[in-house]
Amino acid sequence: MITIRNLSKYFGTKEVLKSINMEFYKGKVYGIVGENGAGKTTLFRCIAGLESYEGEIITHPTPIKEHLGLLLAEPFFFQKITGKEYIRLLCNARKVNIPNIEARNIFDLPLHQYASTYSTGMKKKLALTAILLQGNDFYILDEPFNGVDIQSNLVITEIIHQLKALNKTVIISSHIFSTLSITCDEIHMISQGRFVKSVHQKEFAALEKEMKRTLIGNKIEKLGLT
């Protein structure tokens, strides 16, 4: 379980997270939505302990970083590291021994090639595979569906369902609403560093409608497309 109390984060004088309070329970999948720059990634980095912050983040078990699989929106890879070595590096870091990595390569990635030669989607799948093989209790997936092909999208959706069944806590951010509506128990909307709305499954459709109305408004008409 993750409990966040009065979490604030400043970059210089700019307050990017404003007194956030939230609880994430075991066996639940949470979606975080918001515009670019709303504070989603900063929130994830604070939970992971990659950023200093004001307020409290209480986790069980602790420290969370030893039980957290963090999928970054843009995973970083060394120039000449192969896919297999990347997985091994992340598993070694958590003292997890995977004797046959190839057998666990469910996305059929070319593990003996340099990760830097992978496409955007392949990089995402590699990073996801690595954190899954770490065997974590918590998962923060920042844009897991970005750049990923349709087949892998289905696989990732199934993985999230499986993680939920295994009583893991999963927090996902995505700009594709449909990917959240089929995986999440709750969706929280963040705007300008604050949670402005939280909805459960049965209200997802209404939230999507509301988002369309408030975010799109008459912007398309302004284009004057003919």
Binding site: L50, I81, L90
Partner: protein, 306 residues
């Protein structure tokens, strides 16, 4: 157009020095002194210096011929201007090597270097190879696995030098080969990794640093041991000297590692740079510097390795 390009490069280079807290002109002076110093040392130690020199210049200039770089320049400036820029870049970079070769009266080597400079300006290298270079260090990534792939040719050069040292009964050359092996591994600890890779470790800073050092000792030993064995067979009278080299090699490896993490997550700056110079100038300083930097590294890593 060409002038604007080099103006931009000049600004970027100066920015890089300033970010590392170096006065750019002071940095140029230090680099020039270091270059002349190492060149004089190299040419005084071995008759193979011109070959090593050309190889070093080749590796240095070769980096500029990376295909993604050349493609970018061509998109921005067109083919003709791109080739002009590439030619000028290569000439600027090869001038120090070329001048020193002429000073040492190696005219043929100078000519070869000049020819390579021109040829390299006209061809592209694919730096993202379609094949993966094998590495013996893939069990415990990443420093040695990625580092070996970038520098494997230097180990071939070192082993070749060792064979030459044995056949010519030149222990100094053999010692230089061993230095080359260790010095190459020290460079694996010059750049800080992305913080995600440190954050992932479920270890406290002390255990993290010792773990890294154990791997570095094991892997560097596996590279240097063949040389040490061969040299100790052919030069048994120098076995204690070889043991000392080994110990120094490891000490500097540890030093370079803690030096990097003492500035982490930033790149090594002026302070760390001075410490490197001081330690090479007077190696006994390592006895004080390693524990000091180890402690600083622990502090710098503590926010990520709680």
């Amino acid at each position: 157009m060409v002038k604007a390009y080099f103006g931009l490069q000049y600004q970027m280079l100066h920015r890089k020095f300033r970010d590392a807290q170096f006065n750019p002109w002071l940095a140029y002076l230090i680099i020039a002194i270091a270059f002349v110093g190492f060149s004089l040392l190299l040419f005084s130690k071995t008759t193979f210096a011109p070959y090593i020199y050309i190889l070093t210049a080749f590796a240095f200039i070769g980096n500029l011929s990376a295909s993604h770089r050349t493609e970018f320049l061509e998109i921005c400036y067109g083919k003709w201007q791109m080739q002009k820029i590439r030619m000028l870049e290569n000439l600027i970079c090869s001038i120090p090597f070329f001048t020193f070769l002429l000073y040492q009266q190696y005219y043929l080597a100078g000519g070869i270097l000049l020819l390579l400079t021109v040829i390299l300006a006209l061809i592209n290298f694919r730096t993202t190879l379609s094949f993966t270079i094998w590495t013996p260090f893939s069990k415990r990534p990443y420093e040695f696995s990625t580092g070996f792939r970038n520098t494997f040719y230097l180990f071939f050069a070192a082993y070749t030098l060792c064979l030459i040292a044995v056949t010519t009964q030149n222990f100094n050359l053999g010692a230089f080969a061993m230095f080359l092996v260790f010095a190459t591994t020290w460079t694996y600890y010059l750049k800080p990794e992305n913080e995600y890779y440190v954050w992932n470790f479920s270890q406290k800073p002390k255990a993290f640093l010792w773990g890294k050092f154990r791997t570095a000792m094991l892997y560097s030993a596996s590279l240097a041991m063949p040389l040490a064995i061969v040299l100790s067979i052919y030069f048994p009278e120098n076995i204690y000297l070889l043991l000392l080299f080994f110990a120094l090699g490891w000490a500097f490896l540890m030093f370079m590692m803690v030096n990097k993490y003492s500035a982490y997550p930033k790149e090594i700056n002026l302070f760390q740079g001075i410490l490197i110079v001081v330690s090479f100038w007077f190696p006994p300083m390592l006895v004080v510097l390693i524990p000091f930097l180890f402690s600083r590294s622990q502090n710098h890593l503590s926010s990520l390795l709680k």
